[in-house]
């Protein structure tokens, strides 16, 4: 059991544990915080895969801004305890087995697929084969320039949409 394996299992257990806590939590704020924990664990896994910039962007943007937005909304709406009403019969009898089938089916298929047998390229620590930000930005601004500009317009549209909806709510 070498160090990379131990690190992977620790972070994977944290991620899966936090995801299960998201399902089982009674208050939405606990779900939000477990989702933040999932994101931070995933950022650590990205580091192990050599994607330093993406890991930092995940923490700064996803865990540090998007989830703060979720937490704000939960606090503002005072989202109380999840109601424990009865599940519909369909959900209980067909939903749970289907969900378990989806989970294990996907996992089994991933584990035995051809790409799954590939070992991470470049033996040794991820830092030896880490992606430099310079390469990433070169590709972003040369090959993917059009999606980049389109995404910036999309963000502008999202801001305008959120503003319009917020204004409508206060009328």
């Amino acid at each position: 059991m070498s160090i990379p394996f131990i690190m992977f299992f620790v972070f994977a257990l944290v991620a899966v544990g936090a995801a299960i806590m998201l399902i089982l939590a009674r208050e939405p704020i606990h779900s939000a915080l477990s989702l933040v924990l999932v994101m931070v664990a995933l950022a650590a896994l990205y580091l192990m895969l050599g994607a330093e910039f993406i890991s930092a962007v995940q923490v700064i943007v996803y865990a540090g801004a998007v989830m703060v937005l979720f937490v704000f909304v939960i606090m503002l709406l005072n989202a109380g305890v999840e109601e424990r009403t009865n599940f519909s019969h369909m959900a209980k009898y067909a939903g749970l087995p289907l969900a378990i089938f989806l989970l294990f089916g996907l996992a089994h298929w991933m584990a035995h697929s051809a790409i799954g047998a590939t070992v991470a390229n470049g033996a040794g620590a991820p830092s030896q084969a880490a992606v430099s930000t310079r390469e990433l930005s070169t590709m972003l601004f040369q090959k993917y320039l059009f999606p980049f500009e389109a995404t910036s317009i999309l963000i502008l549209i999202a801001i305008l949409g959120a503003l319009v909806l917020a204004k409508k709510g206060t009328e």
């Binding site: 779900s31 994101m39 709406l77 584990a111």
Partner: protein, 102 residues
């Protein structure tokens, strides 16, 4: 030194995606359902990064970048809609929002 095979990351991504689907189907608070969508997107991001490492190409990382950005935009607009619905219906239970026209 042994390196973790890519299939481990893919299995983890599949498990997280499945858990996201379970949360999406079984929870009834709108905001929690929204968060399960974010969980699914995160699982997909992990798969993208794992594949980028497997093929030693950067395109996967660029995809992750765009997914994160679009998830942020979607969260902003979605939460604005959620706030509007909460003000109108006075409840965050998704079973109460079942009419197309109020």
């Amino acid at each position: 030194m042994n390196v973790v095979p890519i299939s481990y990351y893919l299995v983890l991504s599949a498990i997280l995606f499945g858990l996201g689907v379970v949360a999406f189907v079984f929870k009834r608070n709108i905001i929690t359902i929204f968060m399960s969508i974010e969980l699914m997107l995160n699982a997909v991001n992990l798969a993208f990064v794992a594949f980028a490492r497997a093929h030693n190409q950067l395109d996967g990382l660029i995809f992750v970048f765009f997914v994160i950005v679009i998830a942020a935009a979607e969260a902003a607009v979605g939460l604005a809609i959620v706030i509007t619905i909460a003000h109108n219906r006075r409840s965050l239970n998704v079973e109460n929002v079942d009419l197309l026209k109020f």
